[in-house]
Symmetry: C2
Subunit: 309 residues, 2 copies
């Protein structure tokens, strides 16, 4: 019998937090993309269905990156053709470029995300573009998507540190972010791709923007800081938080980039703080335990291990 | 090459945090006590020496609990006889009762800790006493220790949740803590033994005491909340934080009680926040990697895995 079965501590809020947040679930895309063994499309569809059943309202479903780069998600068209969308649930997909957007539009998506870099080196390594050139690549993608009536999220990666460049100047991150907003992105997701940030840096970066209404945060738990950073971001008013069911995933092109914040660990904190989010922890933990079985290794989420280990 | 080698993000403080904290290192006692295979006393001594060399100033060295209950620490006398104490470093030991204190005094210790329970069930299971009866057991220990000029810490376990009773009323925890302070303990360590707390509960519990000067916190990472809770405690002014090198340990008598907060994960956050603590992260991570090798399994600390994995 775990602690949860006999009752959690009572809910106690904390000053300056939002009443409600949106959890942007990245497990099906960011979480699975690095799995070397291809997960059957039926399993992915069941994963999405279970996540929706657990109360997820934003489920990043897949990516239209070239299959050569991410073979795991080569089934994007098949996945979307088989997806039974639930009312009230959004299923954004990642599109790397115009060709990816074209595929996504043909597949009938209404919400896309682009993936930009806050640093020169990562732009060159991940996008084969300079920091500046990436905007020329994204501009037609965003304007076409907007013209088609799609919502567009802009990921900004390496916002706090970069494995090649080290510390990333905040003005540079804010500059990249503002250009994406000006371009037409309706939301930015500020990512700590290698997981090095601590709460003071989070607060300081967020303060560099004109308000946080269009900002989301995306923390990695590489150095165990993801949840403390999330708390800091919520104190700054951020109301959209990225996380991955069971803590699946990481970034294949960045060293030390292991471990997305686990949705269950986030939900545990939000439940204790009385911050509403709509996700049922038990159903979610069941889903992650089920997926961990399919992947053949235990979930890295501490909550999943404690409740279902 | 990890991120740290090319430079962390710049240090950015956060409002309302102390300038400096004391890390109370529990690895040698709390961390090792549940290891089923006995660690040689020479390895324990080297562990303590390395922790002091890394800048640790409070190293909880061992326990004088009856060897029948914790065979791993049956070598307490031998350990203390072999210990070369460093100037400026305190080596507290756990004493369960008068007999344990007697042994500790003969071994020449000058700093002890007693281990109390905030709940009835855990008092009965761990101490074979009722919640009230535990004070009768501790009273002569504390008064004798004080009379001998020793510093005395009082651990309060199960402060937020208990695996049998569920939520623990804050007044009950505060009541237990105040009785220990009144008895003569110079510090309380408030423990989330099963790791269920979230930041709002931490703030609320601390507010129940008359000031935090004599309070320390002891969080477990069972549900991934330890560092976020530590941040909340520091915001309330707490300046002594318990942690375990490499995340060693847990509590053997409580289900779901795995995972002390790893000192390295704490140090990473403190370094980023510019909160002074005196510990050298590289030396500490080396020590934990060395100990993990001796124990034959990887460190559960995320920082140790990222830097030395």
């Amino acid at each position: 019998m775990g602690a949860r079965e006999v009752g959690l501590p009572d809910t106690v809020g904390a000053d300056g937090l939002p009443d409600r947040v949106t959890i942007w679930e990245v497990g099906p895309r960011d979480g699975l993309q690095n799995e070397s063994e291809v997960v059957p499309v039926g399993t992915k569809l069941e994963f999405l269905d279970r996540l929706a059943d657990a109360g997820g309202t934003v489920l990043e479903a897949t990516s239209f990156v070239h299959p050569k780069w991410v073979p795991q998600l080569a089934d994007a068209e098949e996945l979307l053709a088989g997806l039974v969308k639930r009312p009230g649930v959004s299923y954004p997909v990642l599109v790397p470029n115009e060709r990816g957007l074209e595929r996504a539009l043909r597949a009938g998506v209404d919400h896309v995300a682009i993936f930009a870099s806050a640093t020169e080196t990562f732009a060159r390594r991940n996008l084969n573009r300079s920091l500046d050139e990436q905007f020329a690549m994204f501009e037609p993608v965003v304007s076409r998507a907007r013209a088609e009536g799609l919502a567009v999220r802009g990921y900004v990666s390496m916002c706090f540190g970069d494995p090649w460049e080290g510390a990333v100047p905040r003005e540079q991150v804010v500059g990249v972010g503002k250009r994406l907003l000006d371009m037409g992105c309706d939301q930015l997701s500020l990512g700590d791709t290698i997981g090095v940030a601590t709460p003071g840096q989070v607060t300081a970066l967020l303060a560099g923007f004109d308000g946080v209404d269009r900002l989301a945060v995306h923390f990695h738990d590489t150095y165990g800081q993801a949840l403390a950073n999330t708390l800091a971001a919520m104190r700054s008013g951020v109301r959209t938080i990225d996380s991955s069911a069971g803590g699946l995933g990481g970034c294949p092109y960045a060293e030390s980039a292991t471990g997305n914040l686990a949705t269950e660990d986030l939900v545990w904190m939000l439940d204790g703080l009385g911050v509403e989010h709509g996700v049922d922890l038990d159903k979610l933990a069941d889903t992650s335990a089920w997926m961990a079985e399919r992947l053949g290794r235990p979930s890295p989420s501490r909550v999943v291990r404690a409740l279902r280990g």
